[in-house]
Symmetry: C2
Subunit: 293 residues, 2 copies
């Protein structure tokens, strides 16, 4: 127990379908006092022990500290079109009296193309907080990549692609993507092929396997697979980026792959750090609660 | 030990990349005396114990019995264009003096589109044995599906698609495909979608997940996934079936899915049982050896 930090409130983001949590202890002026990552419980029922393990040291004694959680499976879903964030949040009964645990609802799209997002809505709210009135498309790469259309401060609709999850299932190793210049060339070529002939995936996988045996210096399979899969996604999501103002909210290499891929189509993007967006979104939720009381 | 069967020679097919073996004890007139299935050693080095476990009871004492094996990883590769089967076979040194173990080489395609097949070449030889001089396309569904072009008794070229392996990686369960009429409708619709918009795969996977939560009666995800993946394969392999004479060599539901999918494109197919083709191909190899001596 650190015991030295007493948070005004705590922001937590559930990641990777519940496998991972990250949290921030927030001070009374909105400043970040501490940050931590930990393994997650998978849903609301299991959430309390995971929250206590991550953030127990930030809890004051003698009062309940507000803990706002985005991305939790147990949170309800709100139907688009709607603002990315609005009250009520979902209170979760906690055994520990120091916890006032509330979940940010996800978004559901029940129109012809069904969709769900949990956590991305909070990142979107964080982006909007910094640029009120901004209209455009926000691309949120992750295990599922979401493309959300923002207009008049509402999520009008969204489309989701299991691209990175597919990569994880198919790739022999957890290859993170292009590592050097020759890999980048392989990525760019596969991207073009994936966009032009997305049906080639299963055939290209067989070829990569054969090249691994028959070629003396086989090209990097991971870079090619990323190119094929992101290329197919861009072909499918064309209406979401062609001639659009696109903001990418993501982290590290995956966000960079999307930016590179969109740049190859002549689409300039702006990248926003995913953690900063999540934290800003959770601060927005905190503000909504404060204004309510 | 059964001890009652003494095979003239033994035919073995290695399946699923080495995980499975099936074998036949063959009598002096070419008749099948017994059939068995077992788990496999993965390559030539491990093959002997797996062969002994499967077929040890069929071995005569006091002489070495010829055991012909197709599909083994340890066998060499012959470059297309070439006949599906030709001498030499690959002898494997065996510790057990009752074994005369020989492997049928696979085929390699080193042209622009790299490819390999191990075992399919023997099935192709079995098909050709029954119809000398036949030209056309043989489609061999399996973990990898091969499309082979036959002309003047040679495999001119082939193309491979990891479609069923992809299904196995992506599908939440080992769903075998459409089970009833409503599933067949879902398969047919997804097939059309997979052919027309193969780039939709990652997006459709996200939709299926959302439908599983949001819909009261979600459509069968397995049937849809088979439709999408086989549809994408048919779109990629169009030149291999459009206006062609196609023979499907496969078994059970997977072969039936390909036949249904091709029928929906107006392509009539003839189905040949995979086991019979393998056995006929191994008998052809036996004949080549006999003619040599």
């Amino acid at each position: 127990m650190l015991g030295t930090i007493s948070a005004d409130w705590i922001a937590i983001e559930v990641l990777q379908g519940g496998a991972l949590l990250q949290g921030w202890a927030i001070g009374p002026g909105g400043e970040v006092l501490a940050q931590a990552r930990g393994t997650g419980g998978n849903n609301g029922g299991d959430l309390e022990p995971a929250v206590l393990e991550l953030a127990g040291g930030w809890l004051a004694h003698g009062r309940a500290t507000l803990v706002l959680v985005s991305g939790a499976m147990a949170a309800g879903l709100r139907d688009v079109p709607c603002p990315p964030l609005s009250l009520p949040l979902w209170p979760v009964p906690a055994k520990d009296p120091r916890l006032d645990l509330r979940l940010v609802p996800g978004l559901a799209q029940r129109a012809r193309v069904k969709g769900m997002m949990r956590g991305a809505e909070t990142r979107i709210a964080g982006v909007l907080a910094a640029r009120p009135g901004w209209d455009g498309v926000i691309c949120l790469p992750g295990p599922e990549t979401h493309w959300a259309e923002l207009s008049a401060a509402e999520v009008v609709g969204f489309r989701s692609y299991m691209t990175a999850e597919l990569f994880g299932l198919i790739a022999p190793t957890g290859d993170p993507g292009p590592q050097d210049a020759s890999d980048e060339t392989a990525f760019a070529e596969a991207l073009a092929r994936g966009m032009a002939r997305p049906q080639a995936l299963a055939g290209r996988l067989s070829q990569l396997r054969a090249e691994g045996v028959l070629d003396a210096h086989p090209a990097d399979a991971g870079a090619q697979l990323w190119g094929l899969l992101i290329g197919a996604e861009l072909a499918a999501a064309r209406g979401w980026w062609l001639g659009r103002d696109v903001v990418i909210v993501g982290e590290g290499r995956l966000a960079q792959l999307y930016a590179t891929a969109l740049a190859a189509q002549g689409v300039g993007t702006q990248q926003i750090d995913a953690d900063m967006a999540a934290l800003a979104g959770l601060a927005q939720a905190r503000g909504l609660l404060r204004n309510q009381t």
